[in-house]
Amino acid sequence: MYVAVKGGEQAIARSLELLAEARRGDPATAELELAQIRQQLRLGVARVMQEGSLYDEELAALAIRQAAGDMLEAIFLLRAYRTTLPRFGYTEALDTTRMRVRRRISGTFKDVPGGQVLGPTYDYTQRLLEFGPTVPIATVEAEVPLAEAMPRVLDLLDAEALIERIDAGADPEPVDLTRKPLMFPANRATRLQNLSRGDEGFLLGMAYSTQRGYAESHPFAGEIRMGEVDVLVCPEELGFAIEIGSITLTECQMINQFHGGNGVPPQFTRGYGLGMGESERKAMSMALVDRALRCDELGEPAYAPAQNQEFVLSHSDNVEASGFVQHLKLPHYVDFQAELSLLRTLSAQHVRHASDRHQAVPEQALEESQA
């Protein structure tokens, strides 16, 4: 049987017009400028860049405006756009040790070398709505700037061999998930690429589950730092590395318990999170999930969802998840007709059996009473 699959063009055209009208709002109100979004909604821009997996504030701001503030839609727009651009290559590894820090805190040591620098954070706000216009603020500059390269908090523990060592080793080329499909089991570098563009809400929920006892690993926020990091590339035409600009990054180093075993002394272990822009919640969630996913490597019992790489990595991407959930809106008319006619058949059989049984019961009862 064939069903009509064409038609609706005009309805779609009208729908797009309605969307454009709704997006723009009252024409008497000025349209948002990209600079306004970039500056005044910078945390939204950071999220769209991070999960859109493309660092470009201008494009992210454009995507947010076009998506009317729907972050997942904006992320989708950015992901789609990046596929139209040529890939020039891979950058040199970002050196977060040399980050020009604007915020740096530790939940493990009060007096860290370099100090606790709060920077711009919502942590100490009262979470009360502020009515009235924002008043321009005159910020204060300290007499002495911060140290050029902040020492890493975890190095304090490393000096005492109380935390697992981490170095580049043979510095293997990581798998690139934009070029190769995700395969299981995925190594840590591959998992981190997945988590890096993973949905903040999903990772936050997964991270929370580990704190509530599903794969408890006693986490401490060893160090969180945010600031600017130089991006270096080494083009073939030059044969030497040059800076091409700086980007804002948030890095989270979690410290977790580990009991040791198999010749490894008891020591702290690490969970790592890195986010584009100011993205502390995401970086912390990523670090907790990264640590939970290391269960096999550390010989920990794996029973919780956050420890299951197939579960976490397959469901972290909000572009995929949103697409699959929302594809249910697409016409499933034929599928549904098949289900409907099957259900009608079963329903008819049910009615027939019920009436057969109704007639059968008295005969059976008669037989039993005669026995």
Binding site: R87, A93, T96, Q116, P174, A189, D230, I242, I244
Partner: protein, 148 residues
């Protein structure tokens, strides 16, 4: 070029890329590309995959991509290149022109003085101001001594 001039070129290319686009445009105002400038590669925006390190210092992983605009220009004998983060074609073009002119021993001192030095100063000032502002939010703990 020997290693030291490689280093010098890497430094000026970095400085040009890190500059604020408007500041670079203002500084390069006096150095309009000559008529014989040939764009070997017109400005083109593409992607680099950002590489991070696990734990900050461990093995590499892919963080996500970044937009980069590159272009190449020939001015006389010299070929200037630019790779600049973001999608600003004008920024890349000006940086490539400056790179070509800076390789010319006759032009170098003038560009050094009128372009590189002002950019370096403003970069330093920008970074220092940001650092001082951050430093102002450094926590000073006061410990209360208990007992005597």
């Amino acid at each position: 070029m020997d290693t030291s001039s490689h280093m010098a070129r890497a430094q000026w290319m970095s400085l040009l890329a890190q500059a604020e686009a408007a500041e670079l445009a203002a500084a390069m105002d006096a150095f309009a590309p000559p008529a014989d400038a040939t764009w070997l590669r017109p400005a083109q925006t593409g992607l680099y995959m950002l590489r991070g390190r696990i734990g900050g210092t461990g093995p590499q992983f892919n963080v996500g991509e970044v937009t980069v605009t590159r272009c190449s220009v020939q001015i006389g004998e010299r070929i200037g290149h630019a790779w600049v983060r973001g999608g600003n074609a004008r920024h890349a073009e000006l940086a490539a022109c400056a790179d070509a002119l800076l390789q010319d021993a006759d032009q170098h001192p003038k560009l050094h003085e009128q372009v590189l030095e002002p950019l370096r100063h403003s970069q330093q000032a920008r970074r220092e101001a940001a650092s001082r502002k951050a430093a102002a939010s450094k926590v000073e703990f006061f410990t209360v001594v208990r007992g005597e």
